[in-house]
């Protein structure tokens, strides 16, 4: 490998990146957009869900309970008189659920009998429905529990809120978001630029010169590696400033796993575009191989443990899973080297395999 040739090609690639506004947009605007979308839009936190409360009992205890619902930050509660009215609201979409406090509720509680409330939720959105159910019960149980210290006993308390104490899902989503950013910048952009060279005939011209395959591979990877690093650093800084995302671990650990994952992403991009040689097909390939698995199978949004076994097995193939896992650890917990090194080694093996694959398919041959 001739270092002068690599330098010349890296320089050329860098000029092309800085002149192409779209690669800058992809590297720096998309991370911000994704953080904003996942930070504000795709929030798992339940706050101010619109529900109706049908108060059929006018006792003191029922009034107290109504008060709790009205002042709960999870709900924005609308007190109505009849179930009919509540049903109308749910049908028209004005409320997502209904809590019914039946007649005689207060008396039952006072007598120490088992008192019940009814929670109806809109099943069209199972996620929200589940949340309404558990939060509504949570409020109820909390109330019962507060009374139990005085004169009631034997009530089950399930505090759902315990699992998400900060109620900030952005911390949880951050790792996945950064992985997606790298999937786009690393794989998608690289796939496009190489396919573009095939489409425009510049690759044909280049492979007819004394340049070697390794020189081509390294000269494509070096500039995009740095672009990815800048993009990641930018996204992390932005996340820190706007969402106060924690970084419990060290920069060393972060740098290690990120570098390996970036190399893996770049290699996938190069393999896709070498096989496709067509910008459109390369773009589709990059999305299918990196973006979608990152979204679906990395444990970023959907819990891998609740998937069918064969899909769980499949998730081990995609490098994003390991990056999400170690990045999440570094951000939220700290340097747990057991996890970080395990993920780093697995991704490293993947990178090596991908390099060999690329070496075998990228020949100085037009076919």
């Amino acid at each position: 490998m001739n270092l002068k040739t690599v330098k010349a090609l890296v320089l050329k690639e860098t000029k092309q990146i800085t002149r192409d506004i779209s690669s800058i947009l992809v590297a720096f605007i998309i991370p911000v957009l994704m953080l904003i979308i996942f930070g504000y839009g795709l929030s798992f936190d339940i706050k101010h869900i619109r529900i109706d409360l049908v108060q059929q009992d006018s006792g003191r205890i029922a009034e107290d309970l109504v008060d709790l619902y009205v002042h709960s930050e999870y709900f924005s509660t609308n007190v109505v008189r009849s179930t009919q009215e509540a049903k109308g609201h749910m049908e028209s979409g004005r409320s997502m659920g209904t809590v019914i406090i039946p007649e005689g509720f207060s008396k039952k509680v006072e007598r120490g009998e088992k008192a019940e409330i009814q929670v109806v939720s809109d099943g069209t959105d199972p996620n929200t429905a589940a949340y309404i159910e558990s939060y509504a019960m949570g409020v109820f149980n909390k109330y019962i529990a507060s009374r139990s210290t005085s004169n009631t006993k034997g009530v089950n308390i399930i505090n759902r809120l315990w699992f998400n104490p900060t109620t900030e899902s952005i911390n949880f989503l951050m790792a996945g978001t950064l992985t997606m950013v790298l999937a786009i910048v690393g794989t998608f952009l690289t796939a496009l630029v190489v396919a573009k060279e095939w489409e425009r005939g510049t690759m044909e011209s280049m492979i007819a010169t004394p340049v070697s395959i390794n020189e081509i591979i390294f000269s494509k990877m070096i500039p995009y590696f740095f672009l990815c690093v800048f993009s990641l650093a930018f996204a992390l800084t932005y996340g820190k400033l706007s969402f106060n995302i924690p970084l419990e671990g060290s920069f060393l650990a972060l740098g290690l796993v990120s570098s390996i994952f970036i190399v893996v992403s770049l290699l996938i991009g190069l393999i896709v575009s070498t096989s496709a040689k067509d910008q459109f097909v390369a773009a589709m390939g990059a999305v299918t191989l990196t973006f979608l698995p990152t979204m679906m199978l990395s444990g970023f949004i959907f819990e891998i443990k609740s998937m069918p076994v064969w899909l769980q097995c499949l998730s081990y193939v995609f490098p994003a899973k390991y990056f999400v896992s170690s990045l999440r650890t570094i951000c939220m917990v700290g340097d747990i080297w057991e996890i970080i090194l395990r993920d780093a080694v697995i991704m490293g093996i993947m990178a090596f395999g991908l390099f060999l694959k690329l070496r075998s398919i990228l020949r100085k041959d037009i076919e």
């Binding site: 001739n2 002068k4 040739t5 330098k7 010349a8 090609l9 050329k12 000029k15 092309q16 002149r19 192409d20 425009r200 005939g201 510049t202 044909e204 011209s205 280049m206 492979i207 007819a208 010169t209 004394p210 340049v211 070697s212 020949r363 100085k364 041959d365 037009i366 076919e367």
Partner: protein, 588 residues
């Protein structure tokens, strides 16, 4: 010396045999032309010789040493690395980085070839002077005109004097002037011990070369000096002078004679090639119908005539398309297409400024001009594909801007690129076009069947049109354009990339329909095709620079005794440049 032995290349996926067991010998220090129709295998052969495509079988020797085509790294063979040290290759798309400037492109290719320091400086000075690109060094390659890109591509290939220079269609889609410059550049390389492999679709260009290899369907059909090919048709070429208005009918009549292989309209004259039979016999049979004809005189054949002879002439000598129009003759002498003060601006830039002309019934009208001159813009305004800023375009007396779909039935349009549905079969495309032009039921089926018969599409009628060869695609496009018998045809570079025989058949069809009163507006880069026109305009820098018959234009040329249309074209453009300066702006 390069020896090609029994080279075969099959593309298994596409089921195409691009090279079929070909052998040829290329001597050193010569310009060797690879000519032949699209899909003949020229590019495949050049790519194998450039070491970037692996053949299926066969071998190549350079100066007696075998080339390591299959990357087996055998001892004594020339490896891919060694080959790439000795060649320079310019692919069809030039291989330039459009987002890098001229000087950056040159620097990159110099570094890839390991040229640095003083040697690089000297090489840059040399190629920049030769290409006349010195003053545009900082301009991005993407902002260059087609001709300038070509020169830059060539400059990149010439930085290190190669032993073998491989140029794949360096002049395709380039105007005659840029083509001349290119040949001059390559010629200046010759005394530097370089073998040049040059592929081209232009036969007039090939005529200038030392040695040509004519390829067809993956085989070599002729190999040798163009001169020796021309010698074979010497004494068989004749010219009927001053035929004027009856030139098309005379040409059609000539083709009916068994001794005539080919007949070509050259302005007001008609040229024909015999198989060596008695020319007086031919003259007598035509004179019976056209008594005013004068005796034919011997004419100097050109390389294209020789190629037609080698390829065995046209497959049929009377156009069945003419018969298709028979019975729906369009009579009269009125103007059917009119451009009135057409002006088109793209931002600040005036692409077409105040262009006016008219096309009469039953005439062929040519729009000529270099790349980016404004001729395509004019053409697009005429057929309503682009809206002008000023002026009017009329077809059959109706303003194209307010033209309803009824009036559009009068137009047949053939686009520059294949614009039919690639995933539909040939028959389905014809049926779709028939439907679009409101043919239904029995008349639709009849029209489709006739087109398949006329254009010999029987064997391919159930094949997806996207996979057809360019020649078939071009015939199918013409069939779709004329099947509703429109009185006006718009043809935008209809023959670019098509082989000489198919081009000749195409013009035979066009000339035949014109005798039935059809008017044709055509753009072309082939000056020999422009000779078929009755009237033409040469557009350059958005203005009409010359107008008239082919002979009118030729008479404007003062530099040559017997000027060709190409000579006239070049002189007119150069005169404009002398006054206004050569434009280097790129137009999109």
């Amino acid at each position: 010396m390069i020896e090609v032995r029994n080279l075969t290349k099959r593309f298994e996926k596409e089921h195409v045999t691009a090279l079929d067991n070909i052998s040829c010998t290329i001597e050193s220090n010569k310009i060797v032309g690879f000519i032949g129709p699209d899909g003949a295998g020229k590019t495949t052969l050049l790519r194998i010789l450039a070491g970037i495509l692996t053949p299926t079988s066969g071998e190549v020797l350079i100066d007696g040493k075998p080339l390591d085509l299959y990357k087996k790294k055998q001892k004594g063979s020339i490896t891919q690395e060694e080959l790439h040290e000795m060649i320079s290759y310019m692919p069809q798309k030039f291989g330039l980085y459009e987002d890098l400037s001229i000087i950056e492109n040159l620097t990159l290719y110099a570094q890839l070839r390991g040229i640095g320091g003083e040697a690089r400086k000297k090489a840059f000075e040399e190629v920049l002077a030769m290409t006349k690109l010195e003053n545009f060094q900082q301009r991005l390659a993407g902002n260059l005109s087609g001709g300038m890109k070509q020169k830059l591509g060539l400059a990149c290939a010439l930085l290190k004097k190669p032993k073998i220079l491989i140029l794949d269609e360096p002049s395709v889609g380039v105007d005659p002037i840029s083509r001349q410059d290119l040949i001059a550049m390559v010629n200046s390389m010759l005394d530097k011990d370089t073998t040049v492999l040059w592929s081209t679709a232009y036969l007039d260009e090939a005529e200038e070369l030392d040695h040509v290899i004519l390829m067809n369907e993956g085989k070599v059909t002729f190999e040798g000096q163009p001169k020796s090919a021309i010698q074979k048709v010497e004494g068989r070429m004749f010219l009927l002078k001053d035929v004027h208005d009856s030139k098309r009918l005379v040409s059609i009549e000539l083709m009916k004679h068994k001794s005539v292989i080919d007949s070509v309209i050259v302005g007001k004259d008609v040229k024909f090639l015999t198989d060596g039979g008695n020319v007086n016999d031919v003259y007598d049979s035509v004179k019976k119908i056209f008594p005013s004809l004068t005796m034919p005189v011997a004419s100097k054949p050109i390389f294209e005539d020789a190629c037609v002879d080698i390829l065995g002439g046209l497959s049929e000598k009377v156009s069945p398309v003419g018969q298709y129009y028979a019975g729906s003759n369009f009579e009269g002498n009125e103007t059917v297409v009119e451009a009135i003060h057409l002006t088109k601006k793209f931002g600040e830039f005036t692409a077409v400024g105040d262009v006016s002309f008219g096309v009469k019934r039953g005439k062929i009208f040519g729009l000529l001009g270099p790349n980016g001159s404004g001729k395509s813009t004019t053409f697009r305004m005429l057929c309503g594909l682009l809206i002008q800023n000023k002026g009017t375009a009329k077809v059959m007396g109706i303003d194209i801007a307010n033209m309803g779909s009824d009036a559009k039935m009068n137009i047949g349009y053939m686009a520059q690129k294949f614009s039919l549905y690639g995933l539909l079969t040939v028959r389905q495309n014809l049926e779709f076009s028939a439907g679009a032009y409101r043919l239904t039921g029995k008349s639709k089926k009849e029209a489709v069947d006739r087109m398949i018969e006329i254009f010999h599409l029987q064997e391919v009628q159930n094949i997806n049109s996207g996979v057809l060869s360019l020649g078939f695609k071009q015939r199918l496009s013409l069939a779709c354009a004329i099947m509703h018998r429109p009185p006006v045809l718009f043809l935008d570079e209809p023959t670019s990339g098509v082989d000489p025989i198919t081009r000749k058949e195409f013009w035979m069809h066009i000339n035949a329909v014109v005798t039935h009163g059809v008017s044709v507006v055509v753009t072309t880069h082939f000056m020999d095709e422009a000779e078929n026109c009755d009237d033409m305009v040469l557009i350059y820098k958005g203005k009409i620079r010359a107008q008239g018959t082919p002979d009118d234009l030729k008479s404007l040329c003062k530099t040559s005794e017997e000027p060709t249309l190409q000579d006239a074209f070049i002189e007119i453009v150069k005169n404009v440049d002398a006054i206004e300066g050569r434009s280097n702006k790129s137009y999109k």
